[in-house]
């Protein structure tokens, strides 16, 4: 490949993503909407007190069961002493913030890449408020969940501030975890005998 040919081509990688991969994925899903359907899964086992452990490995997506993971991911929930634990792990509401941070970041990076915007730096800080009287059942007028979550995003990229703001607004509308939190999503719990 000559230098001239290379200069004429789209960059192979941008923001750590394959540009061709992004456009090929979009094209494949436009041709067959069924490829867009995913089912994600987790299995969790109680250890004791506020400690429990999830394993995450298989999922369905892009038309088939995924078999790309050689081993399961494992994550442990714990609680701090003030919530009757011993910091055996982050607690569930903290893991939710991690999920939200990651999803907003990845959604932002994905759509920046699709628009040809190169990101130099991106970090977020999240804060979520809740009142544990909801959890404890001490006041049924208090929702047990987060009242609100604030995300502050620091970003440097090769575009204008107006483009960044538009991209951020688009990210908020299209992030899966953000939309699982800001919209009501049905959670069904059923019991089976162990």
């Amino acid at each position: 490949m000559t230098a001239q040919n290379a200069a004429e081509q789209q960059p192979t990688m941008m923001n750590g993503l394959s540009v061709q991969g992004v456009f090929d994925t979009v094209k494949a899903i436009e041709a067959d909407g069924g490829l867009a359907r995913f089912q994600f899964r987790a299995r969790n086992r109680w250890i004791g007190g506020g400690v429990n452990r999830s394993t995450i490995r298989d999922f369905y997506g892009a038309g088939r069961e995924d078999d790309s993971r050689m081993a399961a991911f494992e994550f442990t929930n714990g609680e701090p002493p003030v919530l009757l634990g011993d910091n055996e792990g982050a607690n569930p509401v903290e893991f939710l913030l991690h999920a939200l941070a990651g999803c907003v970041t990845t959604t932002f990076v994905l759509h920046a890449t699709a628009r040809g915007i190169a990101i130099q730096e991106l970090s977020t800080e999240l804060e979520g408020e809740l009142d544990v009287r909801g959890l404890l059942g001490l006041d049924e007028t208090i929702s047990p969940g987060y009242e609100r979550i604030r995300i502050r995003m620091y970003v440097r990229a090769d575009c204008t501030d107006a483009e960044l703001d538009e991209l951020l607004s688009y990210t908020r509308e299209h992030s899966p975890v953000c939309n699982t939190v800001c919209r009501p999503v049905p959670v069904m719990i059923e019991r089976a005998n162990a």
Copy 2:
């Protein structure tokens, strides 16, 4: 302490929780509702592509800044190859399932303990469906988030099935992560220059 005295007392620990700790916490919050207010936090940094890393350590709760954690917890979001990653970690929507599993479990264990129900075994399996056309912006009628999440709980405990079902229903109504998902929670994103 004589055997007779011990038999007359409440058990010190049940389900891995301090029974006294549970009731002392409730009593303290009933006396001062301000102790129930918590703010949880996460900081996240983009690494590249669909990889980013959160650190979780400090939080505010029970009337003060917590300082019980000697080091921060770190968690890495990644993506599978079919979502343009290399399985660098579980992905954000999978971490959300881990958070939900943990919260439902801990809420169940907490209220079982408050009711004097001893749990022998507890595990959950979660499945969440979503359509990535929402994430990709290919169809604005499709919500990017989970459409629904199903939790199957296996539990063995020293109570009747009717008591288990009532406890499970109570758990669903009082779990913070479950109520962050099944109710609409505002997420505010603001941009700051890096």
